[in-house]
């Protein structure tokens, strides 16, 4: 039984490592590859939860994470970036060093909060939850410190990965896993189709800063 928890912790920990890796990538292609790696790890973690908690329906979640977030979205985003020939490099609001330090602090905060707070729940659940919260916060951080539209979307999807990990860690949580997967599909498609193309169409760039110049109130 303890081996089961060790494997799920290992996978969650691996996801956390990819979250950190997302923060220091220099090129968009590398960001997308790292995100794909994170999603594939998520698929493994969910599959492991499905077999160890004996909830076969979670295999669907795992499969969707693998196919969609692990393969389809990264490949499609990568093609778009190459085809449009825009911004091969990631634009940073703060440097890698500071981003990583803040990331470390957030991870520490997540561990401290949940390990201290959730003492009533079974220990494995709260450890998984602490890792998931760290992944969510790092995704959030990535959305803040990376300015490009593609990297912001990746930051958000990484947050979503953390959420799914948290939801599968909460034993027996009904319906929500499927729904949240459906949402990530929806959001991903939506972001992809509507925003990336429309922004490109209007600005010839997907740099968010270009948008900031158009603030309605200073017209």
């Amino acid at each position: 039984m303890t081996r089961g928890y060790e494997i799920s912790h290992l996978l969650a920990g691996a996801m956390l490592v990819t979250s950190f890796a997302l923060l220091y990538q220099e090129r968009i292609a590398a960001v997308l590859k790292t995100f794909a790696a994170q999603s594939i790890t998520l698929a493994l973690a969910v599959a492991w939860a499905a077999s160890s908690q004996d909830r076969p329906e979670l295999f669907i979640t795992s499969l969707i994470a693998l196919c969609l977030k692990g393969i389809v979205i990264p490949v499609a985003l990568h093609r778009t970036v190459v085809k449009l020939g825009i911004h091969r490099e990631v634009e940073k609001v703060v440097g890698v060093g500071i981003a990583l330090l803040v990331g470390l602090a957030l991870t520490g905060l997540a561990q401290a909060l949940l390990l201290k707070v959730a003492q009533g729940t079974a220990s494995h659940a709260r450890e998984d939850l602490a890792l998931a919260l760290a992944i969510i916060l790092l995704g959030f951080l990535m959305m803040i410190v990376r300015r490009n539209a593609v990297t912001q979307v990746v930051g958000f999807m990484s947050m979503e990965n953390g959420l799914i990990l948290a939801a599968t860690g909460a034993r027996g949580m009904p319906l929500v896993v499927e729904v949240s997967v459906a949402f990530s599909v929806l959001i991903a498609l939506f972001v992809f189709a509507v925003f990336v193309f429309r922004i490109r169409e209007r600005f010839d760039t997907i740099d968010i800063e270009a948008l900031d110049r158009m603030r309605g109130d200073t017209r």
Partner: protein, 477 residues
């Protein structure tokens, strides 16, 4: 079939139907009819028996929200019929988009109603998120650089809110698990409330923080409000009306449901003081921000932040009287603010701009519109005899009775906001008319209806209504 199922299913069915209706005119008619049926069901629900099922709940508290939701949804559909017609005529909106617009409007109403009747904390989240995502698309509808920027900002901030609120929901589920076991019961709101006293207070504390930040983003509480003014200013005006009048309420509703839950565990953190602080910060901040607005829809968006802040403050104070005042203020604000957006929609179409400086002298060029607009502005700035005055007065007096010093802050914020609205809008109504001026042929029924309701509520609140609101306020604790 229960009435609450009609409230949810009719909008969704209408959305499917509207997606297939190509014409603007027939689409608008179906839109109004569907909203009328939903309104009828929503009002019928008031008199019906209260039910608690595994997935749905109808109690005194959410009936208030459902009634106001379906009512404003109906009047907005009437306003939208003439407004969108004008947008197509002037070529701002391609006709092909109308089908999409109508379908999305109904889907949004349906999703909000899902969140309001849901007895499952996961379903509340799903409904609110669906409604939010739909409004994101609607805000970007015009495809101008500004509207895309607004939609992007809204999307980014809303999705962060989505994630944090969902994490809070997972934590509540974990807190309920020891008492209710795994599966659906631990996500059912009414069952969770029953076992609140046995939940781990530390998890509840943490969950409430996530829920407050997550749903607080949707309520538009400062400093999480950055999306709100842009989203209001750049989308079609019917959507601004629904955003301010309804979607903010639904987010507030979700937060209040969790407040009720957490109140059941005395050892957990008291949500009251946190909500008081966030409400006051939003109120005072938004009141000052009103002075610098140049865009008329942005101005009223900040005014919405101000009023949502006041409501959160009132609910944070708690107790039967403050809750009553908060509920009353929510209803009054919904009616008045959506009425204002109807008027602003006509004003913007009359003058061809949303810039306050270029909207001048409406009393000369469009006297009837000017009167309606002026009355609505007086109502929202809390002038007697309108209903907003009554609810604001009640909030201030109850606060004064309990914490005299604390009452000074909201009173100050409201005064500042009042001055700003007067200063910014005087010229639009009384000044010398300049610039282009077009005829407005939109329906005035929605504005008149809303103003009449707010005025009636300010002059005389029927005892039945008072008793109903008191029961709802008591549930809030």
């Amino acid at each position: 079939m229960h009435t609450y199922q009609i409230v949810v299913l009719v909008p969704y069915a209408a959305a499917l139907g509207l997606a297939a209706i190509p014409g603007y005119r027939s689409g608008a008619i179906v839109n109004v009819l569907a909203s009328a049926v939903t309104l009828a069901a929503g009002l019928w629900l008031i008199g019906e028996e209260r039910t608690v099922g595994p997935y749905a709940i109808v109690d005194e508290f959410n009936v208030v929200f459902i009634a106001i939701n379906t009512l404003v949804g109906f009047t907005t559909s009437i306003f939208s019929a003439s407004y969108i017609g004008h947008e197509i005529k002037t070529g701002r909106l391609p006709p092909g988009f109308v089908r999409f617009y109508h379908a999305m409007f109904q889907a949004m109403m349906g999703s909000m109603n899902v969140a309001l009747v849901a007895n499952n904390i996961g379903l509340i989240w799903v409904g609110l998120e669906l409604a939010t995502l739909i409004t994101v698309v609607m805000v970007g509808l015009y495809r101008t650089p500004q509207s895309i920027e607004a939609a992007w900002k809204y999307f980014i901030l809303a999705s962060v809110g989505i994630s944090l609120a969902f994490f809070g929901t997972i934590l509540i589920y974990l807190a309920g698990q020891p008492a209710l076991g795994e599966g659906v019961p631990a996500m059912t709101w009414s069952l969770l409330q029953g076992v609140a006293a046995r939940m781990d207070p530390a998890i509840l504390d943490l969950a409430f923080i996530f829920l407050l930040i997550g749903y607080g983003t949707k309520i538009g509480l400062a400093p999480l409000h950055a999306w709100l003014p842009d989203a209001h200013a750049e989308g079609p005006t019917p959507i601004s009306a629904v955003l301010s009048g309804l979607l903010l309420n639904v987010a507030l509703y979700a937060l209040l449901r969790f407040k009720m839950l957490i109140a059941g565990q005395p050892a957990a953190l008291d949500p009251g003081p946190v909500m008081i602080v966030m409400g006051l910060v939003s109120l005072v901040f938004a009141a000052f921000m009103l002075y610098q607005r140049r865009d008329i829809k942005r101005l009223f968006a900040y005014s919405s932040i101000e009023h949502m802040g006041l409501m959160v403050f009132a609910f944070g104070m708690g107790g039967p009287l403050a809750n009553f005042a908060g509920l009353l203020h929510m209803v009054m604000h919904s009616l008045t603010k959506s009425g204002i957006f109807f008027a602003v929609g006509h004003v913007a179409q009359a003058k061809g701009t949303q810039r306050i400086a270029e909207i001048t002298g409406l009393s000369e060029t469009h006297p009837r519109l000017a009167v309606a607009f002026a009355l609505a502005v007086l109502a929202i700035s809390g002038m007697p005899p309108f209903g907003v005055f009554a609810s604001e007065f009640l909030i201030l007096t109850t606060t004064f009775a309990r914490e005299p010093w604390l009452a000074l802050l909201p009173a100050f914020g409201l005064l500042v906001g009042f001055g700003a609205l007067l200063m910014r809008l005087q010229n639009t109504i009384l000044g010398k008319p300049t610039g282009p001026s077009h005829r407005v042929d939109g329906s005035s029924v929605p504005i008149v209806l809303h103003l009449a309701l707010v005025l009636a509520a300010g002059i005389f609140l029927p005892a039945v209504l008072v008793a109903w609101f008191q029961r709802a306020a008591e549930l809030l604790g």
